[in-house]
């Protein structure tokens, strides 16, 4: 059995659990799993808009033979009438076997998990956690490089506010990797993340220029620089084009280097990069279905029975 009932934060997962999830996801497109969750129901509670997370969970559940109920617009729910989140969850647990929830308030997923008798998966709680994205990212890194150790991984863009890069850095601290953080001074990786990396003896360096790291890395994890985060618009203007990746930007990259992006992208990766062998962000989004199939199969199916074979 998966060690915990719920998946709320990537910090709750051990290295063994992460590897088990990744290995199970790899098996998902090799075995016929179409009857694995027949008769099971997934409730998707999206109190905030989402495209990839919601649709990939729905696709995953349907590919496993299960069915889906839920909402993508909180305006149609009783929360608009003042119902507490705890009451909404207590009601839903009688309708489904597992819940996936996205909510704009931080900590809502933990509260839902404490309230519900059925498993809860956090599909994003405000600026806090989005653990399934991190598992997709790890799965994608393993898929493209064949390993998770001995890799050089760069994270680029808004490292201060981006929850995906925070969670990915923490998850990668289970492995032997070298990390490169590329950002404007005002959007540097927060000290508490750097402190956690130091504690785990992870070697990292901070940079302001893309050119410094491009020839060195195996993975180039790009995030969007968000205009609204800058207190001074002049500061934004200074850096807005610094991290736009074009074909010429990556001409000195290693042949195995892959560009990942949690999407949606705006202009930080030029569309001309899409046709290069380095572009991997759309495949990354496709892997979201396999990872979420693995999660559902482990949490409410019987995939755990193969656990010892897979680790």
């Amino acid at each position: 059995m998966f060690l915990k009932k719920d998946l709320i934060s990537v910090k709750d997962l051990s290295k063994e659990e992460l590897l088990f999830l990744i290995n199970t996801a790899e098996n998902m497109d090799q075995e016929d799993c179409s009857e694995l969750l027949r008769g099971k129901i997934l409730a998707t509670l999206f109190f905030e808009p989402s495209t990839r997370t919601r649709l990939s969970f729905e696709s995953a559940m349907k590919r496993l033979g299960g069915s889906v109920i839920g909402f993508a617009d909180p305006k149609v729910t009783s929360s608009q009438k003042g119902e507490s989140l705890a009451d909404t969850i207590k009601m839903i647990e009688g309708y489904a076997d597992i819940i996936v929830m996205r909510h704009p308030i931080e900590g809502s997923a933990r509260l839902a998990a404490e309230t519900a008798k059925i498993p809860v998966i956090n599909g994003g709680d405000g600026a806090n956690q989005h653990p399934t994205q991190t598992i997709v990212d790890l799965f994608t890194i393993k898929k493209t490089q064949g390993k998770l150790d001995e890799l050089h991984i760069a994270m680029i863009g808004d490292l201060k506010f981006g929850r995906t890069v925070h969670s990915l850095a923490i998850a990668l601290s289970h492995f032997r990797v070298k990390l490169y953080f590329v950002s404007p001074e005002s959007l540097r990786m927060p000290e508490h993340i750097l402190e956690a990396l130091r504690k785990n003896n992870i070697i990292f360096s901070e940079h302001e220029k893309l050119e410094d790291v491009i020839p060195l890395v195996d993975i180039f994890y790009v995030t969007r620089i968000q205009k609204e985060r800058f207190p001074d618009i002049m500061e934004y203007e200074k850096v807005r084009n610094a991290y736009i990746i074009k074909k010429e930007t990556i001409q000195h990259a290693k042949p195995n280097m892959k560009i990942l992006h949690p999407l949606p992208r705006v202009n930080e990766i030029h569309t001309e990069v899409d046709e290069t062998p380095h572009a991997y962000y759309f495949q990354q989004a496709h892997h979201g279905v396999l990872v979420r199939m693995a999660l559902l199969a482990i949490m409410i199916g019987n995939a755990h029975q193969h656990r010892n074979d897979l680790i």
């Binding site: 989140l85 705890a86 931080e106 900590g107 809502s108 933990r110 509260l111 600026a127 806090n128 508490h192």
Partner: protein, 163 residues
């Protein structure tokens, strides 16, 4: 056994005569003067309807400059209340008094989980939106560093917002 009145050096003893001695109850001493009303609130002393509650603050102290002292007649603190005090001011001294004498020195132990003492500093935390008790996990005791159970924000002792 030491008499309550003999605990302090003579000069401090004189000053504390401002506060009445108690026969049975609890004495909390060496309270940082700016924390004294936090303690009054978390122990709900303002709602105490039985027994004398004496509160003094801005008393000169060799140990901590200015201090506060609270004496509560007829009340003994629960382990939960002692934990709350350990979170807010870990360096106070607490004694249980019986028949005018110190019968027990209460040691302060910080709990691993701090429940419903402080509000979360993150205004967008679910604990500030739903009617639920706040929960913090103690990561490091000295200096105190805690993590909100819900939004996972890290809070240090000096940032604590007592409920």
């Amino acid at each position: 056994m030491m008499n309550e009145n003999e605990q302090q050096p003579n000069n401090e003893k004189e000053r504390e005569r401002i506060i009445s001695f108690i026969q049975e109850g609890t004495v909390i001493d060496h309270i940082p003067h700016q924390k004294i009303f936090d303690l009054v609130r978390i122990l709900a002393l303002h709602k105490n309807t039985e027994g004398t509650v004496s509160i003094a603050t801005n008393l000169p102290s060799k140990k901590c400059g200015k201090k506060g002292i609270i004496k509560v007649e007829g009340r003994f603190l629960t382990p939960e209340e002692v934990s709350k005090i350990a979170v807010i001011c870990p360096h106070v001294t607490m004694n249980t008094i019986k028949e005018h004498h110190v019968s027990d020195k209460i040691s302060l132990t910080l709990p691993k989980i701090i429940k419903n003492i402080a509000t979360c500093n993150n205004p967008n935390c679910i604990s500030n939106h739903e009617r639920i008790p706040t929960v913090f996990h103690v990561l490091e005791e000295s200096p105190l560093k805690m993590k909100c159970n819900y939004c996972e924000i890290i809070v240090h002792r000096e940032e604590l917002m007592i409920k």
